[in-house]
Symmetry: C2
Subunit: 153 residues, 2 copies
DNA sequence: GTTGAAACCGGTTGTCT
DNA sequence: AGACAACCGGTTTCAAC
């Protein structure tokens, strides 16, 4: 079932701060705790709320560099994609990987310590994959915006 | 202060599931609740844990389309960047926006309902910005990997 | 860092409207 | 479907080791 406006308000709040108490959420949307509690449970059960995670400060952990990169595969055979996908999922430097339309095959987002760490990743892990033909890397100079919250209201 | 190995194990767990109880975390890393509690408080206070958020299932909310796009500004003046940045931060279709090195200025990640919604966004919001010279859009055909967790161990 | 205890508070459940 | 109240479990703080 599709969430109504009240559900969506709850989703907006939980996307900003998963530690809000039900009481606080209830106050924000002028309800009591019971319906808020029921709605959250339903949204979790239906998988509309996928999970709750902690977001870390990259820089304070020495992961200063983000690189977006475009990858083209050697042969666009089914097995090439399968091999590449399987390898990418295991690489914890890769936060995002999607097959895209256009003049290359994949868009990746990679987080590493610094340029040297990226060089290591590039040479020994990414370009080492058999199916990879070409890679273009775009180093992030300044992160203007980053959010995990999609607009639902 | 830099987090030690125990802190990093806690961070790994909280990045996967922010709702783990302190008792559960303690069990995973063979400690009692008191030190785990103290460490988490410290990591939050130092801003190493930035925040806790709920992650939603895009598809179940009708936001089926991800588009990565490259933007080049008309004039690379300071004011052009400032205007563009300010406008982008307000657009809730834009989840990520970074200034990058290379043959264009910005990399964006955009989430919308469908191709028609992207068309509306593209025509009336993104390309409507005065400072924008050129936009290349890459539609996501298949999302292979998406995580918010950076590797810390 | 560990154990144990106590206070507190939010999540949870049942009942009533 | 929402409000109210009681219960339970986890968090939080403290003491002592």
């Amino acid at each position: 079932m599709q969430p109504d406006l009240t559900d969506r308000k709850i989703l907006e709040l939980l996307q900003q701060n998963a530690q809000m108490t039900i009481k606080e959420i209830a106050a924000h949307i002028n309800l009591s705790v019971t319906p808020v509690h029921e709605r959250i449970r339903k949204l979790e059960k239906e998988g509309i709320i996928d999970k709750y995670v902690g977001l870390l400060n990259r820089r304070k952990l020495g992961k200063a560099l983000i690189v977006y990169c475009n990858v083209t595969l050697d042969k666009q055979r089914k097995e090439s994609f399968e091999d590449f996908n399987e390898a990418i999922v295991k690489m914890n430097e890769v936060l995002e990987c999607s097959i895209v339309s256009g003049n290359f095959d994949y868009m990746l987002k990679i987080v590493v310590e610094d340029a040297e760490a990226y060089n290591q990743f590039y040479q020994h892990k990414l370009s080492a994959l058999k199916s990879v033909l070409h890679i273009s890397s775009y180093f992030v100079i300044s992160e203007i915006k980053y959010t995990t919250a999609i607009s639902v209201v």
